[in-house]
């Protein structure tokens, strides 16, 4: 029989070789020497003890890896910027709904400075601002203004926060007579403000 191959020598040294191979290693001096040499090398290798850090090291390492893994999630979490984009879009939606339902009507002095009618219905009274209320001082208004400043109509439309077609028309139809008069007044003032003043000549 030929001598054992390296793989068979390793199997014999591991004690997992077939019986005929083990028998050969026992009978063949050359193969037995090779098996003994392997076992001796394993014994030598085992003289290098296992490195065992402090028990406190493992929780620290786990925490460090956990932090790194959580930082790693940032590229995958591409939705995160959209959360910030959705905030102003939501604010725009709130504004549009508010305007659409006519719950807040502007006066010539400013968008929210109309004095509340003393006899207004409770629903309207609850949303009507105080006469001395300056919208610039309202933190909510400021927040909405800042957040919606960079949002285009296209972005708002793409995100689905614009009111559906016809909803503004329906809201207008629901205004009562006084509200319609007030709205018409506001629109006239807005148009007048945007109409360029004609230069006044000497014969004018």
């Amino acid at each position: 029989m030929t001598h054992l191959s390296p793989g068979q020598i390793v199997d014999v040294a591991d004690g997992c070789a077939a019986p005929d191979l083990t028998a050969h290693a026992a009978a063949c001096e050359s193969c037995r020497a090779r098996v003994d040499s392997i076992l001796d090398a394993v014994r030598l290798a085992a003289e290098d003890p296992r490195a065992e850090p402090s028990p406190l090291f493992w929780p620290q390492l786990a925490a460090r890896i956990g932090d790194a893994v959580r930082r790693e999630r940032a590229p995958a979490a591409l939705w995160r910027p959209w959360v910030w984009r959705l905030a102003p879009l939501g604010a725009v939606a709130v504004l549009l709904i508010a305007v659409g339902t006519g719950s807040r009507l502007r006066t010539p002095a400013g968008p929210f400075s109309a004095p509340a009618a003393p006899d207004a219905a409770p629903a309207h009274a609850s949303v009507a601002p105080a006469a001395d209320h300056d919208p610039a001082d309202d933190p909510s208004w400021l927040l909405v203004s800042v957040l919606s400043a960079e949002v285009s109509v296209e972005e708002a439309e793409a995100s689905g926060v614009l009111p559906p077609p016809g909803s503004v028309d329906r809201a207008l139809m629901q205004l009562d007579g006084a509200e319609r008069v007030e709205l018409a007044k506001i629109l006239r003032e807005e148009l007048a403000a945007k109409t360029p003043v004609a230069p006044q000549g000497p014969g004018a």
Partner: protein, 218 residues
């Protein structure tokens, strides 16, 4: 589990979405089990479903083995810790590629061996910057015998470091990490026969290097 658009019949309507089923932590009766009771494959499924805490448990279970592997290659605590982190990060990034045909431990060993070999080959001079700090002797150890053990351990470590990369990796996985030949073959992407041959030559070379070193010393 996920559906792939290219798995749909040609010419048909192909979906533009991917369906991902996130496995629950429940057992067969529907009762939710704590993460600690789940095996590695279930934890991997949960990770893929976005449960980072499941990966924390994977780290907890395998960090010691990965660290020991790395330390065998780099022999420096700080480097071994850095490499261990790198191994787990690579695993996390590539978790979708873990198919489960090997155990998670074997897969981590594969990543670890690649990371260590890259690290060692990049540094080129690891033997000059070794942290061969002796292990703390166990209580009751004779200081003289501890010193002898320490010196012998350093000699073995230096000899292992001089082995060719494949033999070194095979020896570390077999002798120090206790992997079977089949597991080593899976970790190194080779055959069981090649692993056995590498073990044989690695041990033979180790013995020869130690003998040469002893002659030089005398």
């Amino acid at each position: 589990m996920s559906t792939r658009a290219d798995a749909w019949p040609a010419g048909g309507i192909q979906p533009h979405w991917t369906l991902t089923v996130v496995p629950s932590t429940g057992d067969e009766s529907g009762r939710d089990l704590p993460l600690e009771d789940l095996d590695d494959s279930r934890l991997v499924g949960l990770c893929l479903g976005g449960r980072v805490d499941a990966f924390d448990l994977i780290v907890e279970r395998h960090q010691r083995a990965v660290y020991q592997l790395c330390f065998r290659f780099v022999r420096r605590h700080e480097d071994a810790a850095d490499l261990t982190q790198e191994v787990f990060l690579r695993a996390y990034r590539g978790l979708r590629r873990f198919r489960g045909d090997a155990t998670l431990a074997t897969w981590l060993y594969r990543i670890g061996v690649n990371a260590c070999l890259n690290h060692v080959s990049a540094r080129r001079a690891p033997e000059t910057a070794l942290d061969d700090a002796p292990p703390i002797p166990a209580a009751g150890d004779d200081p003289a015998s501890s010193l002898v053990k320490t010196e012998q351990g350093a000699r073995v470590r230096a000899a292992v470091a001089r082995l060719p990369p494949k033999q070194r990796a095979t020896l570390i996985l077999r002798v120090y990490q206790g992997l079977s030949h089949r597991e080593i073959a899976s970790a190194l992407g080779t055959t069981v026969g090649a692993v056995k041959a590498n073990v044989f030559h690695a041990l033979g070379n180790l013995k020869k290097l130690l003998a040469e070193e002893a002659i030089e010393k005398s």
